[in-house]
């Protein structure tokens, strides 16, 4: 039976069920002795069986459900103090009679809670306000924790994912922070490393999928060595993985489908295995379909193709690849890194004839970087997510402060009742229980409602989240979230009860109450707790406001950056020409020209151009160049510069300013023209104070291929909006890039090209653009139709996302804080009605009364503001790298949020003051 298991299932069974339910069960069943132990073992044994029958995901679900059903019964039996899971009775077989501790019994507790609920039902307004306030805060926590749990805490979907590391390089000597790995290096690593169990090399690519009745599609594919799936510990759900032959140069052409493409395009038809499809115009046999939960290196990869490289003879200098490795059990990442660094030191021995590579290696002080795969995938999200969780916790604290205030009002009304009970002999604990029962009733209602709101929030978030958020498809509410919300509910219950319990059951207060016989104790003393709450609330709100203010400022700084081009009115889309249909430079150039001509003729299109990639598309290329006027000395490295290819009219279409000279790409008639355009950064770097037009740059090596600079354009933020532009060379669309290790002998054929069209209403052009492409070649799929505005917005997604979340939290905090302040001042006015009436009867002016009351509230807020500013000064530093061109203690932001919160506090104090000054003295005095 075991022999039937696929390796993935084997791993699922060997890994055993989730730890959390098993731990909970072990803990709950411990009092049962051997019987409890055997139940845990039974479930484990059955889990292994379900893994075999239905796969590890179904098994995990099964195990959770059954564990929960046992937990529920156990808790019920324990609470009821009888039944088979109540260990106190029979105690399993041990025969040891259970001890019966005198504690808060269940019946008493339920009695108290029932009593509390009845009380809350009578005070409906209060109950609704309290539950809603808390539920909003719990919902915020639920949403943030759900995302954090799924993205950061849960292991990746690959088997034993903790042992997976991503191998990359760094070259600090040349200022390169981190880049990929080359097939040559990977090969050496693989040969030499003793700490790596298995590894895979891969590179992402977009391809055209055609060859059946469905419309041609442009989709993301992953090219990898045949060892990748084994490294990840996952195998196709259907069919098989790649063979060694398929992964060799000229081997049989094979493809593996992702589950989603199999479902979407082929209707989940299992007979797809063995059929052939057209990938980039070439036939490939479908040999497998991956499981539904599998996506590597991210969700959305639709096809898996063998890399087909002969690694042993591959270049050591082509760093555009990635490698993932499964380290041996017991090995650490540091050991792996040390071993790889030792290998790098020996690289010149392996590649004696690669002078460029050796020079690069030495000058750059090449070193290996190994980081856990999970960190590589979700590392960027770590800081924002923990920050948001902290923010949500602050919001919850503010909500608790608010409700505690309401709670105190109610509790004070019961003070006399409490005093009586105390006099009759009820201890402090017993008295506190009443509060705890009420706070539990509130917290449970709020926890339940908050959970529901949170679930809705999570669903909404998953639908609307920006693309590029890793592991988004895995975000969902699971048992960890339930446990978290349950724990939160408990904390809320305790927080709510603790202040009234201390305040109202202290012997001093009780003595006072019973003596005076009324519920009015000394006003000042009684208010202190509530005043402290207002101060805390204001301070917390200020911290949140400061954080969101700083993010807002970062965002507006980013928005106001000049990217170097004019994104408004530009529509872009991407096309890739299959080599089968467009074999040479001539045919590619001909298509580009015809398509551009056709696009320009479309009504509503003012200009059209194209480039290998548009700015902010995150896929620029860099290589070594020779500058004729600045030859690199012996042992010196040539500069590594970014370059791309552009068509004629590209600069005009993108609104990139031409500084001097002519700035044009090339049409097909100019294939052999050696003209190039550089941006101002390059111009000033190599020809400061001069006009670079007429000077030449070219390939490195013995016999350089020179290109004459014909124009200079404005610099563009090409990779990320927040990164300073660092130079770009623009080659004509069809031209050989003079790279040192260029494998191409002839002109570089740019097969994948992003077209840009400018018009007044770019989004309305997409239909016409599709038709234009279809008219020219119906088999060409169009990908990534986007306005340039969208691309700019996407490049700011992390900032805007964090900002939005913080602003929402701060708005909630502001709202809750204002309500809290207003509530306390209003209460104060009610308490002092008689005094105010008396003052007014004695001739105090309305204005004086207003000022007196308002000051009382505003003073508290002012203290809170000061405390908040001090706290925020320290805490906003946590925002760190999320800020752009904004200091964590930006004075302007701090001043603005302090003024905003101060203003709100003023209104919240002034409104009740206004009411106080309008009191009719005669009536207030009569009332007493």
């Amino acid at each position: 039976m075991e022999g039937d298991m696929t390796p993935a299932e084997d791993a699922g069974a060997a890994r055993g069920p989730h730890r959390l339910p098993e731990r909970v069960l072990e803990w709950l069943l411990r009092p049962l002795g051997g019987a409890g132990e055997s139940i845990v073992g039974d479930l484990r044994q059955e889990h292994a069986r379900v893994v075999r029958e239905s796969g590890s995901f179904a098994a995990a679900r099964w195990h959770w459900r059954q564990s929960m059903s046992i937990c529920v019964r156990t808790v019920r039996d324990r609470l009821a103090r009888n039944g088979p899971f109540y260990a106190g009775g029979s105690g399993g077989r041990s025969g040891e009679p259970g001890r019966r501790k005198e504690r808060w019994s269940v019946t008493e507790l339920t009695g108290e809670i029932r009593y509390a609920v009845r009380g809350l039902a009578r005070a409906r307004q209060y109950a609704v306000a309290a539950v809603l306030t808390l539920a909003l805060a719990v919902a915020a926590n639920t949403v943030v924790f759900t995302v954090l749990n799924s993205v950061l805490l849960q292991p990746l979907v690959y088997a034993d994912a903790d042992r997976l590391v991503l191998l990359t390089q760094t070259a600090p000597g040349l200022g390169y922070p981190e880049f990929g790995i080359s097939p040559g290096l990977y090969h050496q690593y693989r040969e030499a490393s003793t700490l790596v169990e298995e590894s895979g090399l891969y590179v992402e690519q977009t391809v055209n999928l055609t060859g059946d009745d469905a419309a041609p599609e442009r989709i993301d594919a992953l090219l990898s060595t045949h060892t990748l799936f084994a490294t990840l510990g996952r195998q196709p759900a259907l069919g098989r993985g790649f063979t060694v032959e398929e992964d060799s140069p000229g081997g049989p052409a094979a493809v593996i489908l992702s589950h989603s493409v199999w479902q979407r395009r082929y209707g989940g038809d299992a007979s797809i295995i063995g059929r052939s499809v057209l990938v980039n115009g070439a036939e490939r046999e479908v040999v497998g379909v991956m499981p539904e939960s599998f996506g590597f290196p991210r969700d959305g990869v639709a096809l898996y193709l063998p890399l087909g490289l002969d690694l042993a003879t591959s270049s050591p200098g082509e760093f555009g690849f990635n490698a993932v490795a499964r380290i041996a059990p017991g090995a650490t990442i540091d050991q792996v890194r040390a071993q790889l660094d030792g290998l790098i030191a020996r690289l010149p021995e392996f590649y004696p004839d690669q002078a460029e590579f050796i020079a690069f290696n030495e000058a750059g002080r090449l070193a290996s970087v190994a980081q856990p795969l999970k960190m590589a995938i979700v590392g960027d999200l770590q800081r924002p997510l923990w920050l948001l969780l902290g923010t949500a916790a602050l919001v919850l604290l503010i909500a608790c402060a608010n409700v505690t205030n309401l709670f105190l009002v109610r509790a004070e009304a019961r003070q006399r009742d409490i005093a009586v009970r105390s006099a009759l002999g009820a201890g402090r604990f017993r008295l506190t229980r009443q509060f705890l029962a009420e706070s539990m009733a509130l917290a449970i209602a709020a926890g339940g409602l908050g959970m529901l709101l949170g679930a809705a929030g999570v669903a909404g978030l998953v639908r609307t989240a920006p693309p590029g958020l890793p592991r988004l498809s895995e975000v969902g509410i699971d048992a960890y979230v339930l446990v978290y919300v349950a724990a939160l509910t408990g904390v809320v219950a305790v927080l709510l009860a603790v202040v009234p319990a201390i305040r109202l059951t202290s012997p001093a207060v009780l003595a006072l109450v019973s003596r005076s016989g009324t519920r009015t104790t000394t006003g000042r003393d009684r208010l202190r707790a509530r005043q402290a709450l207002v101060v805390i609330q204001t301070a917390l709100a200020l911290v949140l406001l400061a954080g969101s203010g700083l993010m807002l400022r970062s965002f507006s700084q980013l928005r106001s950056l000049d990217p170097g081009f004019d994104p408004e009115g530009v529509l872009t889309f991407r096309i890739t020409l299959p080599a089968a249909a467009y074999p040479d430079a001539q045919s590619v150039a001909f298509l580009h020209d015809r398509l551009l001509e056709r696009l320009r003729a479309l009504p509503g299109v003012e200009l059209a151009g194209g480039a290998r990639e548009v700015p902010l598309a995150n896929s620029a290329n860099g290589t070594a160049f020779a500058i004729e006027d600045h030859p690199a000395g012996p042992g010196e490295l040539p500069p590594i510069l970014w370059y791309t290819h552009v068509s004629e009219d590209f600069f005009e279409t993108m609104g990139i300013a031409i500084v001097t000279g002519e700035a044009t790409g090339a049409s097909s008639s100019e294939i052999n023209r050696r003209a190039v355009v550089v941006d101002r950064i390059i111009a000033e770097r190599f020809w400061p104070g001069e006009n670079p037009v007429g000077h030449r740059l070219g390939s490195t090596g013995e016999d350089p291929m020179w290109f004459t600079i014909v124009g200079v354009v404005d610099e563009v933020r090409a990779r990320r909006l927040q990164d300073e532009p660092d130079g770009m060379i623009y080659f004509p669309l069809i031209a050989n890039v003079p790279a040192a290790d260029s494998i191409n002998a002839g002109p570089t054929i740019v097969r994948s090209m992003t077209y840009t069209v400018r018009g007044s209403r770019p989004e309305a052009l997409s239909g016409a653009v599709r038709n234009a492409v279809r008219e020219i070649d119906p088999n060409l799929p169009i990908a990534a139709i986007n306005t340039m505005d969208t691309i700019v917005a996407q490049s700011m997604v992390q900032t805007s996302f964090t900002m939005l979340a913080l602003v929402l939290a701060a708005a909630l905090a502001l709202f809750l804080g204002a309500i809290g302040l207003y509530g306390v001042i209003s209460y104060l006015v009610t308490q002092r009605t008689r005094e105010i009436g008396l003052r007014m009867a004695l001739g105090a002016e309305a204005g004086a009364v207003r000022r007196m009351v308002a000051w009382q509230g505003f003073r508290l807020a002012a203290i809170g503001l000061v405390v908040g500013v001090v706290a925020a000064t320290g805490l906003t530093r946590l925002l760190g790298s999320l800020l752009y061109a904004t200091s964590p203690n930006d004075p302007l932001t701090f001043a603005a949020v302090t003024a905003l919160l101060g203003g709100v506090a003023f209104v919240a104090s002034w409104l009740p003051a206004l009411r106080a000054s309008r009191l009719d003295p005669a009536r207030t005095l009569q009332a007493e």
């Binding site: 069974a13 019987a35 132990e37 039974d42 484990r44 059903s69 046992i70």
Partner: protein, 112 residues
């Protein structure tokens, strides 16, 4: 002497399953037997609660066996019925047979 009819439906099923399985009566076997033989979904919570209740009633007993690899080092319980347990089943069966007799015409026989 009045007869004791304190056996629930699920309790009877469990006891019968234990008799059927004989020396293989471990928790997972019992659950799977019921799930396959009578097509009844068995919540593990109900399973172990009911086994515990039967033990409290004195109808079954168990002993611990050494664990195997799949169980994460946890020992195993093998269940068997006690004398009173078998007696209770017998009583129940007699009562049911008596109640069923002569009703085939009304309730239909098997397969009808």
């Amino acid at each position: 002497m009045t007869r004791d009819f304190s056996l629930g439906e699920f309790e009877q099923m469990l006891m019968l399953a234990i008799l059927q399985l004989g020396p293989d009566s471990h928790g997972p076997d019992i659950a799977q037997y019921l799930e396959t033989a009578v097509d009844r979904p068995v919540s593990r919570g109900a399973l172990y609660a009911t086994l515990g209740r039967l033990e409290e009633k004195g109808y079954l007993r168990w002993q611990l066996e050494e664990p195997d690899a799949q169980r994460g080092g946890h020992r195993k319980r093998r269940f068997e019925l006690t004398g009173p347990g078998v007696a209770a089943l017998r009583t129940y069966r007699a009562a049911l047979l008596e109640l069923w007799s002569g009703l085939e015409g009304v309730l239909g026989s098997e397969g009808a």
